[in-house]
């Protein structure tokens, strides 16, 4: 199917070469409607073994969705919803695993199943509930996801404001929980860890939201024993269940690359999301495992942003035993704040949304959309790889070498952030960078940049406004943000 489509798309592209390209030319949004009475403030999404989506909501309801991938899904009445379960507390994640549907509520990790096949839950088992909650609205939990240890991982949010029942343990942690109810905390110092996902190779990552003790939003590896910088919940590290020793007190007002001097277990992120340039509130994310059915970005990560109602794209690579990489804008204009992303059976990307309590640029209060690749090849930076003396860019379409060779047409700067108690960090130590050489490959698919003054622990922000494809198009997104933690040797 892909071949003829691509040919047709190429013909179309040649025909319209002069028209400016837009995101919608390449990634189309399909809105999956809800009837009145179905308030789909999506907290989690998964596919049932029969391929139908199952969606849990912030209201603690779980819905089974029929016909979500039908060709006429946007027509009223085609998509149907069945209330699978209700009466749960703020469910913000779903995982279908070994015949059970797992979710984490405020107070417990639960698993549910429908025994008699009527699409309504018959049984809910409490898998584990080793933590208590204080009754604060912000005591959210996210997950679960299957960890490399074969156990279920969740992240816990820290409270904000009043705690009617007193301060509770294990807020701002990643916990690993066995199906037998055994559990252990694996990471501390999380702030508002709204997304958690296991990578195809097993490591679990999470997204965190900029705020106090979190200078910029980030995507980070949940390395067992790591500390992510927010001290609020770290008093729990004195409990016997925490086996990684005293992480120490996070220093107030230190540049991120220097924090490990005080906190050796401090985990620098895989990528930072510079504020407003790449959204504001990263949430759910997912690796592209569609092998090209969703376009040219197989293996990369799509990240939702709640405030900006958009999707970002992250390219990750391993350098010096750590993950790092680049963030690119991908698709704006979703209907509401993006909370979760998950793959549909047809390799469209399901996007679950809500703007409740946290405003979003989208116009709808909640909803479900699907992003479908139109088959047309966008002109995008495909990958951005670090090199000892600069970066190597690859492109989805050949570039016009003439527009690439003049380094002065590229703009690049680098900056980092501070760890501190106040809300968010400005970009610190900003420096313009000299791109001393830009060398396109013969096939026009690669551009090698030599850059003076690379700094480890810094975001390297790149703009390519003058670059054109061989057929004269500017980049669909001409900016990229590489978080350089290690400079490769």
């Amino acid at each position: 199917m892909v071949g003829p489509l691509l040919l047709a798309a190429a013909a179309l592209a040649a025909q319209d070469a002069a028209a400016p390209e837009e995101e919608a030319d390449f990634y189309r949004l399909i809105t999956v409607p809800q009837p009145e009475g179905v308030v789909l403030e999506v907290g989690g999404m998964a596919l049932l073994p029969d391929g139908r989506p199952i969606v849990c909501t912030r209201r603690g309801q779980v819905w089974v969705v029929d016909n979500a991938f039908a060709a006429d899904a946007e027509e009223p009445g085609v998509v149907r919803y069945t209330l699978f379960a209700e009466g749960l507390q703020e469910t913000l994640g779903l995982l279908v695993h070994e015949g059970w549907i797992y979710t984490v509520q405020r107070g417990e990790l639960s698993r549910m199943r429908d025994v008699d096949g009527d699409d309504r839950m018959d049984e809910l088992e409490t898998v584990a509930d080793p933590w208590h909650i204080s009754g604060n609205y912000h005591e959210y939990n996210f997950g679960p996801r299957l960890g490399p240890d074969g156990r279920l991982w969740i992240t816990t949010n820290k409270p904000f404001g009043g705690e009617p029942f007193g301060r509770a343990n294990w807020r701002g942690f990643a916990l690993s929980i066995g199906l037998d109810g055994t559990w252990e905390p694996v990471c501390c110092g999380l702030r508002s860890p709204a997304g958690i996902q296991n990578s195809p190779w097993g490591d679990v990552f999470y997204t965190d939201n900029q705020g106090e003790w979190c200078g910029a939003s980030k995507l980070s590896l949940l390395r067992p024993g790591s500390c992510h910088g927010h001290p609020w919940g770290m008093f729990s590290c004195e409990e016997s269940e925490w086996t990684y020793g005293d992480p120490g007190d996070p220093p107030d007002g230190v540049l991120m690359p220097d924090v490990h001097e005080t906190i050796p277990s401090f985990e620098l992120p895989a990528v930072w999301f510079p504020y407003d340039k790449t959204g504001r509130s990263p949430s759910g994310f997912v690796w592209d495992q569609t092998d090209g059915a969703f376009g040219p970005f197989a293996g990369q990560v799509f990240v939702g942003d709640q405030y900006a109602a958009m999707l970002l794209r992250v390219y990750l690579e391993e350098v010096g035993g750590r993950y790092q990489g680049a963030v690119f804008p991908f698709r704006r204009g979703l209907a509401s704040g993006v909370i979760r992303v998950a793959w549909g059976t047809d390799q469209t990307l399901m996007v679950g949304m809500s703007d409740r309590g946290w405003p979003s640029l989208g116009s709808a209060p909640f909803g479900l959309q699907r992003v479908a690749w139109t088959g047309k090849m966008p002109f995008e930076i495909h990958e951005m790889r670090a090199r000892p003396d600069g970066f190597e860019l690859t492109f989805t379409r050949p570039i016009d070498p003439a527009t690439a060779e003049d380094p002065s047409a590229l703009r690049m700067e680098s900056y980092t952030y501070r760890l501190h108690a106040s809300y968010g960090s400005a970009e610190m130590e900003t420096q313009e960078l000299d791109v001393v050489e830009a060398r396109p490959s013969e096939d026009g698919l690669t551009l090698r940049l030599k850059v003076d003054g690379l700094r480890a622990g810094y975001v390297h922000e790149l703009h390519l406004p003058e670059l054109r494809s061989a057929d004269g198009q500017p980049l669909l997104h001409d900016d990229a943000y590489y978080t350089l933690i290690e400079i490769p040797e």
């Binding site: 308030v39 912030r58 209201r59 603690g60 379960a85 209700e86 009466g87 749960l88 507390q89 703020e90 509520q105 405020r106 107070g107 417990e108 639960s110 309504r120 839950m121 018959d122 049984e123 809910l124 088992e125 409490t126 509930d129 208590h132 909650i133 204080s134 009754g135 604060n136 609205y137 912000h138 005591e139 009617p164 029942f165 409740r356 309590g357 946290w358 405003p359």
Partner: protein
Amino acid sequence: MLLTPIVVAALPLLSAPQAGVRAVGVAARGEELLTELRCVACHAPEDAWSERLPLLPAPSLTGSESSDGVGKRARASWIAAHLAEPGDEMPDLLGGLPAAEREAAANELLAYLVSLGGPFEDGPVPILPARLERGRQLYHSIGCVACHAPLEVPEDLELPLWSFEGGLLEDAAFDETFERSLTHLPDKTGHEALARFLLDPRSTRPSGEMPSLGLSESEAQALAQYLTLREVRADGPGFDYAPGLIYEYFETDNPAKLEGVMPVRAEVVENLDELPEHRPDHFSFRFRGFVLVPEGGRWTFYTTSDDGSRLYVDDELVVDNWGNHPMRERSGEVNLIAGRHAIEVVMYEQGGGEGLEVAWAGPGLPKGAIPSSALRHWARVSPPDPRGEEALEPALVARGAERFRALGCSACHDADDEPAPGKRLRDLDALAPGGCLDEAPKAGLPRYELDAADRGHLRAALAARYGFSRPLTPGAKLQRTLNRLDCYACHERDGRGGPSDDHLGYFRVEGDLDLGDEGRLPPTLDHVGWKLLPHALDGVLTQGEAVRPYMLTRMPQFGAEHVGTVAALLSRIDGRPSDPPPLFSADEVDIGRSLAGTNALGCIQCHDLAGHKGLGIPAVDLATVGSRIDPSWFRTLLLDPWSIRMGSRMPSFFPDGESPAKDLHGGDPARQTDALWSWLSLGSSMPLPEGLVVDEGEYELVPIDRPITVGVFFKDASARTVLVGFPERLGVAFDVESSRLTRAWRGRFFNAEGTWHGRAGKLEDAMGQDVLAFPDGVPFARLDADDAEWPTRSADDVGYRVRGRRVAPEGDPIFRYELDGVEIDERVLPKLGPGGATLTRSFQLSSDGAGWIHFRAATGERIEALPDGEFRVDDDQVLSLRGPANLHAVVHEGPAGAELRIAVPLSSQPTLLEVDVRW
């Protein structure tokens, strides 16, 4: 200045009983006058007469915990004028004295009265246009004008009274023919004192004729503002500019639509440093007043706000900081001459964080907050009252106190147990020259404003005084109360009374509801003692109960001491032998429910239902019927509506004796009526009929077909609580973390706004009524003996493990937990019965082996075993138990009270335990 009460005094003596004069005989009218004029305060009646001649206390002058002394509530100048020329029922006691002594006596009395809480003070009172307008509308709608003169004609009430630019508008033409005017109040009292009085008028005026109207604090403030400040004119006498700004607080986040909206609150703020109290999201503020510009020139104003704000100076938009955004500064410039300029700041907040900061900068003034000293709002300042301070000379006060006693004032005011100062009533000579009834009473005797007719009535009553020992008939007793309290001003009974044509326009319905006169006029009292059960009558008369929320006129509360017997009198006079009410059964309830739905009789087309809006007009909520209405009256209303002639728009449901619903009870109107009654008897626990469109805002959860389950933070339970609402209108709360059922209630289930709106996280509570609390602590324990100590530690520490839940086919959750090898499944099910739903708790206990487990079914101060094996807990709960044969229950008396413990034997087979709870 001549004071209004004197004008009032010249009017016919008492306005209330005018109708009564015609209805009762001359002597009977005289008998009423003996009470109303308080003749019996000085002239003691015989004991046997006192039921017919009660002493009605005059207004309290000393004050009490709940009322101000007269010196605190009235201006000295007004007291002085009132002593010089009293009015109403108060006689002139100084009139016969020589001029010099009269003046001395008046000064002494004034000193004493001012000393009772005085001197009067009334600080600057902010003029709040929204409050003034609210007071004006309240005054002319809730019933004040049934007795007091209206201050405006009804048509004018739709025009604004106040414009912020121009102050009070000139009064429109006004019909001055009404009596009991209150136009004297600005001279008599002040805003704060009047507001305090209005909240509890009977503690100042114990005679009950000025009833309580159940005002909220803010309503009392509004009425007091209107009645004391309505005549203040911008820049006229008493008007001033006081520091600070007026603010109005709205619970809307659409400030484009504030015009004509009544703010939730209006007050004064010192400055614009921080927002006054507000809810977390979705609100607006409007600040208004004046800014004092110290020097002419170019001025810059700044607002920093989250979300939007706008600032106007002299009605010109200067700062536009509109739109949704985090704290963001915007500014604007304007040329101003030195002096006072109108300023207005509007801000709104949709969601998330919020804030407002306002700053200015101008010639010689760097950017900074606008200080309080530069902000002004309109206020009324009281002119100083020189008589107040002067009067408090101690020797004068002491002489005044003595004079007060000597003149017999204390026989009526704050009467103590002293013997009445005059001759006994039995010994009076009605024709004695120089007596009270003479044209010219002797010095020292009270002088009443009596006309010849009044004297005739009084003399006739005195001539017949030995008849006072004969008790009044119930009808006469009732008549007397209806006359004295002027119930006829609002209500009609036996062809008498009801609003006069002059007053009809002041009886209004909420909004524009199409309910006709039934919606706006207080109901007829014909048959009312039959229609309403005695406790319902008493509820209306003494408990402030009301079932017509759409009617703006309120039922005044006169106090049980004045109307406490009226319910019994009405029941006795109007009551009819009642048929036994239909037998209750759950099947009858179901038929009644079907009849009320849209597919049958359609009661819900007009009537509200247990707090949910009906489909059309909001006629009386049917949930109130079962507990208030006599069943035989209801039967007559449905089967023979014309015999009751309620004047109702309620249609006849069985025209020609035929029911439109043929399939229910074979279309038999009598059986259908009885089924409806079974359903109505459940009150607010009634299952909701089909066809009801539940539209109580998007967050109210209303189970109609299936139970609803929702997870919440809950008061007196953990933050991990699940609520279950059943269509039988039973709600329960189960604390998952403690494996404990904590609450049950009837009626409305739950409004999820606090849990489902915005960032949510509200600590929720039961929404309905009849809330039943189950015992604190763990429900089950493994005890060594029946009387061992019950564990007090948390469920976690005791060894409980949460297992989860199953969902029954009916949709309700079965909660599962485990204690010490015993797996427990707990289910709560509603059970319909007379009065509403009760519940059954059922437990399935599974374990490997034998032994015992104890269940604590109830705790209380007193638990009593009833003969039939049931247990009564504190008179509010009855439990009955079912389970294995060798189960036993014990009442354990512990230090914290009584506990009902049930020892349940375990075996390898699952054990069932069921506990019915009625409350």
